[in-house]
Structure formats: structure tokens, C-alpha cells
Amino acid sequence: MDYKETIKKYLLNEVIHDMSDLEDNQQLIDSGLIDSISIVKVIIFFENEFDISFEEKDMSPINFETVQAMVDTVSKKTQKYHIY
């Protein structure tokens, strides 16, 4: 599954409406492109879309600050689920 493509598509369609594309390492939080409520929506989307479950300790900016960080976070989560 191409996490990056899915994540970008979701962000551009549902969260960041006024941009046509996102750089992989573009700051999403520091730039205000994603706000606190949007991140909750993103988390709900990731859990449903990728069949993963986040924990409180995952709620760190480093896991969500760029598209690439989101891809890495989702990848780690899915790997963890596969191991179990």
C-alpha cells in the first residue's frame, strides 16, 4: 500500500484545501497547515484506513509534523501490528 499517496490525498482533500500538492518534508504543524482539531481527524482516518491503533505516547509532534513523518509513523504502527 502506498501510504504516502493515501495520506497526501486525504490531507489535500479533507484538511488542507487551498493547496494542490505537499512536499514530503513540508512543515504541516509549525506552518499552521494542520491545526489541533485536524490532527484528531487525521488520527481517526489513519486508524480506520490503515487498521492501526494509536496510543497517548504517539501524540508527539515528531510523528505528524510532515507527510514523511506521518508515513514513517503509520509504517511503524503497521509493522508492529504485523509482528503481533
Binding site: D30, S31, G32, S36, I39, P61
Partner: protein, 638 residues
């Protein structure tokens, strides 16, 4: 006939020092016109003077002068005396907000002087003014402001009065920025600039910690200007020298200047470079500025005076420029408000605090904000006013009347708290001030008890909804229903939301400045303010209650209530407020008759924490120039 010195007013440390110096050199009895409150204020100013011997000397001088209340009866003491009249500008001029009120106030002051000149033996008039002008405001034209205008009309008026009554008149134009109210720090142009630069650097670094490690500041050439660098002591010595100098004309105008002009850009460069290691680059055009540079530029443009002297006007009295230090030590003030408890009708206790003496200002805090957020402002206000404040109720279940999770403490509960505290304090008349979501409870209280409230002050008020308010809603407000829904349906998301807010995942300092985050900078919550502003996000209980409080708050439309407002109302707002956009305050201004609207440039929602002195100064103007019902239409005498 006995010769005496009469100060028409003394309102700052400059006036006390001048009075003391004149007393030393003239050996005449000194009188001044001022109320009990004014005298108390002057003694409190002297407490800020650091060298103890100087403080003691000035206090002794102040003790030994004769105070006249200003009533017709009190002025009778001037009978059979030759009066040497001393006057200096007594207006607060940090913004142009109260122009008409200042003019009216000034007219009243001048009328009193005319009364003295007409009814008593007036030997001479000495008038001192500043030759600085806040020239961007453009009172009559683009190069003038209300302060300069007042100076010009006063000079012309006094010269005319002197001619008509054959009274010798001397006018001293000085670089003094009245009012000098902090004895620890001479209020010079350099010091004000130094304070502003410190405030600006801290503001930027609390949002982008590495910004000045990687960037210089660009300052447009257009900000440059010239100043003279003279201390209060030098100016006073020169005034006294010119006062004693022989003269053969009916009036003289002196401009007390330095031996050379000093470039403002040089002073800025010196402060940025030497005190903060920040490189300054002079930009030829304003377009070269990025958003961080523009913040300083806007603040400077708005808050700084310029030297304003016409060539050949008056006799130049040249003094050697003084070295005025731009380094300053912050004087820590001991602050110990009284803690009190009131028992509410529902049997619960509510803790509140009081500080200072004088007219009462009741502060209605924003939801979820710790009362500590107000400390800096309350320290300033409590020097002259009695301030009453508390933490708003309803964040914790135990504070609710029935202690239940379900009960929502709404605006009506906040009004009941204001009523309980005001009753407990036995207050008859109050000024009511609020911040953000304190606004509606303050307004509800006033409309319920119009006889008790003298004036309203709203700082960054949240007033929506109203017709057409949607473009001025914050992101938080727009999303709050969605947040409530998400966390209601998914308990885990409540934990997540709380965690991401409280842990600083959002509104945290920015790692690297980028043009993309130039607006986001105004949303950043500096680390040092997180504890007192983000307390509701610590616990699930407080988080849920806070959201419910906000939802209830947003349900009240105050449009109709505003039509009932008939007292002076001051709306203080911040240009870059991302929480309660300033257009909401502007809307209230358009709906209320006796209101003043001010919008501080390049300021965020954290106005009371980060631009405290600006907020204080505008409140001071409001208290001085507004016409409150109980004062019988007299201006505040302080």
C-alpha cells in the same frame, strides 16, 4: 508683597525634581495645585527612586510645599502674594485615542490658569513642553499630532495671556517625555527604545527561538531621525539657568537642545548589536522587510515620538549631550494581593483577590486562564486603583453548584459570582474589565446593574456570534462543536486531544522561520505562558468542562444588550489576534455610543502578558479622560 512659586500641576518625577531644584535656588515658598489623591500618587512615584538620599530629599521637598486643592476657596491663599506660575503639559499621549478628550481636558486646565492670572497678582508664567511629536498620527496634517498641537495652542495662549496682562512669559521646549513615572528609569527616548527592543526580541525568540541566530533585523531607512540626548538633571539645570537669566522682552521661547543630533538608527544599531548580538541591516525600502522585521517596524511607527522642531523657532540653549544608558535592570516589585473568600448562594466558596486602593476595577477573567496571567498588569494598576479579580468558576466539577459532571457553569453563573464578590466587598461603583471570554459576563453584569458600573474595559473581547461575525471567528471556535463531538463519541480521542494541546504539539515555538509560517507566529503559545493559559487541558475533567463552558458562551448573542450601553466603554484589541479577532471589538465599537476602539499593531491575543505597559497606558487614559457619571463631569485629578 510675598513672592511665591505656584506649580499649576505636578504629576510626575520630573515635576517633583524641578520643584525641588527651584526650591533650592529661589528660596521662596512653593505651592502647587493637586488633590489628596494626586499627592498620594506623587509620594508613591518617589518610592520608585533608587538612591535613598535622593528619594528622601525629594520626599522632604514634597512634604514642605503647600498644596491647594484647586477650589476657588483654596486659591484665596494666593491673595496678596506675587505668583510665579509654573506649568508643564499634563496629558498622556502614548496613543492618539483620546484626542478630543485631551483637548477638552487641556482647555479646562488653561481656563484655570487664566482665572489665576486674572484674579491674583501673577508676576510671571513659565511653561515647559516637549518638542517630540508622535508624527504618524497626523492630527492636523501628516506631520503633526495631538501632543504637538496642544503644545502649540498652549504656547500661543500663554504668550497672548502674558501680553494682555503684562505678565513676563517664558517657554521652555525640552526633550523630556512627560510623564516621568519611574524613578529607577529615566524615561528618555533611548530607554523607551531599549525597552521596546527587549520586548520585541523576547517576543520573537519565544516563538522562533533560533530566529536571531540565523537572521539579522532589517530596519528601513525611513525610520531614521535625530534626537538629543539630555538627562532630566541637565534639562532642569538649564531651565533654572534661563529662568534666572536677565531678559528685556515680555516673552522668550527657549529650545533646550544637545550639542549635536544623534541618529535614531545609530541608537537602534547599538542596542541590537551590543545588547542582543543581533545584526542590523538598513533597508532602502519597506518592501524588503519580512514579517518579523515588519513587527518591529509597525511597533516603532506606532509608539515612537519624533523630534519636531521648526528651524529658527525660539532661542537655542545648547547643553552637552548626556550619556544615557540603554541598559536597565528590571526592578522586581513585591506583589502580595489579599486573598479572600466569598460564600455563594449555592453554598460553595469562591476565592478572590484584591490589590491596591482607589477606584475599583473588577476584572472578569477569561475562561480557564489562571489569575496569574494578570499579575503584571495588576501590579501597575494597583498603584492607583483597587483591583478585584479571581479565577472563573466551572472548570472543576467541585466548583459547580451540584458538583456534577453534567452541570455547565454558564455566563449567568459568572454574573452571579461577580455579584457575590461585589456585594462581599461592599462596592458601590466599579469599573469592569474583562479579557476574551470574560466579556459577556461583564456586559451581562452591567446591563443588570447599570447603576453600579462607571465604565467598561474589554481586552481582546470575544463577542461573537452576531450578524456577519463568521469571518471573525477563531479556528478553535469554528471547530469546537466538532471537537466536542469527536471526544464525546471516542473517549480515546479526548485523551489524544488533551495530550496534543497540553504537551505543546500545537502552538509551540517554531523551529525555523519560513514565509509559510509568517501568520502562524501569532498563534504560537510561548513556553512561559503555557501553565497559566493551558491549565484546562491538564485533566479530562477540566478539558470537558472548558469545552462546555465555551460552547455555552458562544451561544449568547449580545447584539441587543449593546444598545443598552450608555457608559464609557474602552475596547482594546490586537491586530494579529487569532483567538478573538480585533474585528469583533470593532463591531462592538460600532454598536455602542460612548466607546473608544484601539487596535495595537503587531500584537497577539496575549496582549495583557506581552504588551502590558501599552494596555496599562490606554487604561490610564481611559480613567483620566473618560467622563464617568459619578464624577460630575470632571476629569480625573491625578
Amino acid at each position: 508683597m510675598e513672592e511665591i512659586i505656584l506649580f499649576a500641576r505636578i504629576h510626575d518625577i520630573f515635576g517633583i525634581k524641578l520643584m525641588s531644584s527651584i526650591k533650592d535656588t529661589c528660596k521662596k515658598m512653593i505651592y502647587y495645585i493637586g488633590s489628596d489623591e494626586n499627592q498620594k500618587h506623587l509620594f508613591s512615584l518617589l518610592d520608585t527612586i533608587q538612591p535613598i538620599d535622593e528619594k528622601d530629599k525629594l520626599k522632604e521637598s514634597l512634604h514642605n510645599i503647600i498644596r491647594l486643592s484647586g477650589s476657588m476657596e483654596s486659591l484665596e491663599l494666593l491673595k496678596n502674594k506675587k505668583v510665579s506660575l509654573w506649568i508643564y503639559d499634563d496629558i498622556y499621549f502614548s496613543t492618539d485615542t483620546y484626542e478630543q478628550e485631551i483637548l477638552y481636558y487641556n482647555t479646562e486646565q488653561m481656563n484655570r490658569l487664566e482665572y489665576i492670572a486674572e484674579n491674583y497678582e501673577c508676576k510671571e508664567i513659565n511653561y515647559m513642553s516637549s518638542y517630540y511629536s508622535y508624527y504618524h498620527h497626523g492630527y492636523r496634517d501628516e506631520n503633526s499630532d495631538i501632543f504637538l498641537y496642544v503644545r502649540e495652542i498652549n504656547e500661543a495662549y500663554l504668550v497672548q495671556l502674558g501680553k494682555e496682562k503684562n505678565i513676563s512669559t517664558k517657554i521652555y521646549r525640552t526633550p523630556i517625555l512627560y510623564c516621568q513615572r519611574d524613578g529607577a528609569q529615566y524615561l528618555s527616548f533611548e530607554n523607551i527604545l531599549s525597552h521596546r527592543i527587549q520586548e520585541y526580541v523576547l517576543w520573537v525568540e519565544s516563538r522562533i527561538p533560533n530566529y536571531f541566530k540565523e537572521n539579522s533585523i532589517h530596519i528601513p531607512k525611513t525610520l531614521d531621525g535625530d534626537i538629543y540626548s539630555l538627562s532630566v538633571e541637565t534639562v532642569i539645570a538649564k531651565i533654572i539657568e534661563m529662568y534666572h537669566a536677565a531678559k528685556d522682552t515680555l516673552y522668550e521661547i527657549y529650545s533646550i537642545i544637545g550639542d549635536k543630533k544623534i541618529s535614531v538608527l545609530d541608537i537602534m544599531n547599538n542596542i541590537f548589536t551590543n545588547q542582543y548580538k543581533i545584526k542590523v541591516q538598513v533597508a532602502n525600502v519597506e518592501e524588503k522587510l519580512n514579517s518579523i522585521d515588519a513587527i518591529f517596524y509597525k511597533i516603532y511607527q506606532y509608539h515612537f515620538p519624533r523630534l519636531w522642531m521648526k528651524e529658527g523657532e525660539g532661542k537655542s540653549c545648547v547643553c552637552k549631550n548626556d550619556e544615557i544608558s540603554t541598559c536597565f535592570n528590571r526592578v522586581e516589585v513585591e506583589f502580595a494581593p489579599s486573598e479572600k473568600i466569598v460564600y455563594l448562594d449555592n453554598g460553595k466558596e469562591l476565592e478572590y483577590y484584591t490589590a491596591g486602593e482607589g477606584e475599583t476595577i473588577v476584572i472578569v477573567n477569561a475562561y480557564g486562564v489562571d489569575a496569574d496571567a494578570w499579575t503584571k498588569l495588576i501590579i501597575m494598576l494597583s498603584a492607583d486603583y483597587r483591583v478585584v479579580y479571581w479565577n472563573t468558576r466551572g472548570i472543576y466539577d467541585a466548583q459547580k453548584p451540584d458538583g456534577s459532571r453534567e452541570y455547565i457553569c454558564g455566563v449567568d453563573d459568572q454574573v452571579a459570582d461577580i455579584e457575590a464578590i461585589i456585594n462581599n466587598e461592599g462596592l458601590d461603583k466599579i469599573h469592569i474589565m474583562s479579557w476574551c471570554s470574560g466579556a459577556k459576563a461583564a456586559l451581562f453584569y452591567y446591563t443588570k446593574h447599570p447603576d453600579k458600573v462607571l465604565s467598561q474595559i474589554f481586552v481582546c473581547g470575544e463577542f461573537a456570534p452576531f450578524e456577519g461575525s463568521k469571518p471573525y471567528h477563531s479556528k478553535f471556535r469554528e471547530n469546537i462543536q466538532l471537537i466536542a463531538e469527536i471526544i464525546r463519541n471516542d473517549k480515546k480521542m479526548l485523551d489524544f486531544y488533551m495530550k496534543i494541546i497540553h504537551s505543546g504539539m500545537f502552538n509551540r515555538p517554531i523551529k525555523e522561520y519560513d514565509i509559510a509560517n509568517q501568520n502562524y507566529i501569532f498563534e504560537v503559545m510561548p513556553e512561559k505562558h503555557r501553565d497559566c493559559l493551558l491549565a484546562p487541558f491538564k485533566l479530562k475533567e477540566t478539558m470537558v468542562n472548558f469545552l462546555n463552558l465555551c460552547i455555552e458562551y458562544y451561544s449568547h448573542d449580545i447584539t441587543e444588550l449593546l444598545g443598552m450601553v450608555s457608559i464609557p466603554t474602552l475596547l482594546i484589541s490586537a491586530e494579529c489576534d487569532q483567538v478573538a479577532p480585533h474585528m469583533q471589538s470593532k463591531w462592538v465599537y460600532s454598536k455602542t455610543s460612548d466607546s473608544i476602539f484601539i487596535c495595537f499593531p503587531a500584537a497577539s491575543h496575549l496582549l495583557i502578558l506581552e504588551r502590558t505597559k501599552d494596555v496599562y497606558e490606554i487604561i490610564e487614559q481611559h480613567m483620566k479622560y473618560s467622563r464617568f457619571g459619578s464624577r460630575n463631569d470632571c476629569f480625573k485629578d491625578r
